[in-house]
């Protein structure tokens, strides 16, 4: 029981880190960025390459990967999203454009790193294990939870306390009003993408380290779970995404323990469905319709 609780918290941390980036972009641009999972995957591979080939220590590799994915986010925004802004059907076209971008990134990853599953070299992270009663938790898992929480706190502080954060929230509320008030909308959007992608990349690195499995299609499972998380939490709400991620992580873990893993995915989607039918704005979401 205790072990499953720890499993749930651990899983939740990773979902949370992935989901906050997802929900940030949705809040700002009203678009579901389906390329987020590809950025997640690229982050993992970049860190892996830096550690395995260039021999960088883990921290440096993670930092560098986050920087690189932030840049990737800016490029993605410029190429796949900005040209579509202002089009009437930007919901649809943004979705499809991000999908196309994701498939291009996957093909590039396949070409560069091959289709096989890789893992961080042994010894990338010290292999210590702690016992908490009958439960077992590794130093790695604790570090990942701590890192996730720190990064999410950093994001929240950025959004609440800094000028950029205020600007992001203004654009999320109403881009036109923000523009009238002198906010450099294009730059703010680009920076939101950078933040979102950096977090997505970080999530990828931690995921790869946690589960020893990095492959060009590693983003696919997390993508759908991430969707369930941001819906449950409320689209556009960062604290909502965090709360929902932990809830979903725990729900999944206990479903597996009680009902067996066959139903684990179905439960996540049932939750998704239930939330949308009964409370579309999720746990902490704001208004469902955004003013232009």
């Amino acid at each position: 029981m205790g072990q499953q609780l720890l499993n749930g918290i651990f899983l939740g941390s990773i979902y949370a880190l992935f989901a906050v980036g997802y929900t940030l972009v949705f809040g700002v641009l009203d678009i579901l960025n389906l390329a987020h999972q590809a950025v997640f995957m690229v982050g993992a591979f970049l860190a892996l390459t830096l550690v395995a080939t260039a021999g960088l220590p883990f921290w440096a590799a993670m930092g560098a990967a986050m920087l690189a994915t932030a840049l990737l986010g800016i490029v993605l925004e410029r190429v796949a999203f900005r040209p579509l802004r202002g089009r009437a059907d930007s919901n649809f076209s943004g979705l499809i454009s991000s999908l196309a971008a994701a498939s291009v990134l996957e093909a590039v990853a396949l070409q560069l790193w091959g289709p096989d599953v890789s893992r961080f070299p042994l010894g990338t992270f010290p292999d210590r294990v702690l016992r908490v009663g009958p439960a077992v938790v590794s130093l790695l898992q604790l570090t990942i939870v701590a890192l996730s929480v720190c990064l999410m706190l950093a994001l929240t502080l950025t959004l609440q306390r800094t000028r950029l954060g205020r600007q992001i929230r203004a654009v999320a509320e109403s881009p036109r009003a923000a523009q009238v008030l002198g906010v450099p909308v294009n730059r703010v959007i680009a920076l939101s993408f950078a933040l979102s992608s950096a977090l997505g990349g970080a999530a990828g690195v931690l995921f790869g380290l946690a589960f020893n499995s990095i492959s060009p299609d590693v983003g696919r499972t997390v993508e759908l779970k991430g969707l369930a998380v941001i819906i449950l939490g409320g689209m556009g709400s960062v604290p909502g995404a965090v709360l929902a991620a932990y809830l979903l992580g725990l729900l999944e873990v206990f479903t597996t323990a009680e009902l067996g893993s066959s139903y684990r995915d179905a439960v996540a989607f049932a939750v998704l469905f239930g939330v949308l039918v009964f409370r579309p704005r999720g746990l902490l979401g704001g208004a469902a319709v955004r003013t232009s």
């Binding site: 949705f26 009203d30 579901l32 190429v79 796949a80 040209p83 579509l84 089009r87 059907d89 919901n91 649809f92 076209s93 979705l95 499809i96 454009s97 999908l99 196309a100 971008a101 994701a102 498939s103 291009v104 996957e106 093909a107 590039v108 396949l110 070409q111 289709p115 759908l224 969707l227 369930a228 819906i231 689209m235 066959s262 139903y263 995915d265 179905a266 989607f269 049932a270 998704l272 469905f273 949308l276 039918v277 579309p280 469902a288 319709v289």
Partner: protein
């Protein structure tokens, strides 16, 4: 010439089948609903018809009818809660539905779980596919010019305004949702009896998104749009394959990467889809002429 026909007959059949699927998504898109449920409906239709053929030795027309009716019947209770949702929320709810359907079939032993049903007799002919596509296209073409067609278009453009004019959105949206389910189910039944087998893995998130992409890339301003999108995007990987062989390129992930790039280009540069390409070219030429 004969070997060309034999080689590409299956591509042609898939173009028609995918055209049918794109039209099933068009049904919901033309009243402004971004529904991704049709892969799930297709799966249900495919299994329903295959089970009838294999376990009950039903005649093919009956199996086809079941393939269309069973998903349609399920769409009614599903539609009520789901169609109240807007935009991207509806999309996500329907993604959740599709995943639940897939997980259900993976775990259902009656249909052999992941293996699905195999050795289904091949009853679908190219002629039947052509007839189905023609019939559905004709139906939509007639619908466009009719009173119902105008009502749907009004709903798509501005739902609140349309409802003040006495158009009941719920009824129309449900009708088109059910129609879309029936067409997708029919396509599923046709495919099951074309490719000899049905397995849940073929009806996941990827399939649902593909259908949407065909419809949107083709353009929904005309009935021919989704067909054009489906034909183009089904033939594209095969055209790239032939081109790759012609230049001596080794088969691999590059082809699907180029596929993604072309998709991205179409979304970015042809906002109203392929069907609006002539108009877009004309507009471009006019702008060029005005500048000189």
């Amino acid at each position: 010439m004969e070997s060309f026909l034999a080689t590409y007959a299956s591509v042609f059949q898939f173009m028609l089948l995918n055209g049918l699927l794109a039209l099933s998504v068009y049904a919901t898109l033309c009243c402004g609903q971004l529904s991704l449920a049709n892969a799930g409906f297709m799966c249900i239709g495919a299994f329903a018809s295959a089970v009838l053929t294999q376990r009950a030795s039903a005649p093919f027309p009956l199996a086809l009818a079941a393939g269309a009716l069973v998903p349609a019947l399920l769409a009614v209770p599903l539609g009520f809660p789901v169609l109240r949702l807007r935009g991207v929320f509806l999309a996500i709810a329907t993604i959740g539905f599709g995943e639940m359907v897939r997980v259900f079939f993976v775990n259902w032993d009656y249909t052999n779980g992941a293996l699905g049903l195999v050795a289904i007799p091949q009853h679908t002919t190219t002629l039947l596919l052509v007839a189905s596509v023609a019939a559905v296209t004709f139906f939509f073409a007639r619908l466009r010019g009719s009173r119902i067609g105008y009502a749907l278009e009004a709903l798509r453009e501005d739902e609140p305004a349309a409802s003040t004019l006495g158009i009941d959105p719920a009824r129309y949206k449900l009708a088109m949702f059910v129609l879309g389910a029936a067409i997708a189910g029919l396509a599923g039944a046709l495919e099951a009896h074309l490719t000899f087998m049905v397995a849940p893995s073929g009806y996941g998130f990827g399939r649902a998104v593909d259908m949407l992409v065909w419809a949107v890339v083709g353009g929904i301003s005309r009935v021919g749009g989704p067909l054009l999108g489906a034909f183009f995007l089904t033939a594209l990987p095969e055209a790239l394959r032939a081109a790759g062989h012609a230049v001596g390129l080794a088969p691999g992930p590059l082809r699907m990467g180029v596929n993604g790039l072309i998709l991205l280009a179409v979304v970015l540069f042809l906002p109203n889809g392929l069907v609006a390409a002539p108009a877009a070219v004309r507009a471009l030429l006019r702008r060029r002429k005005a500048r000189t």
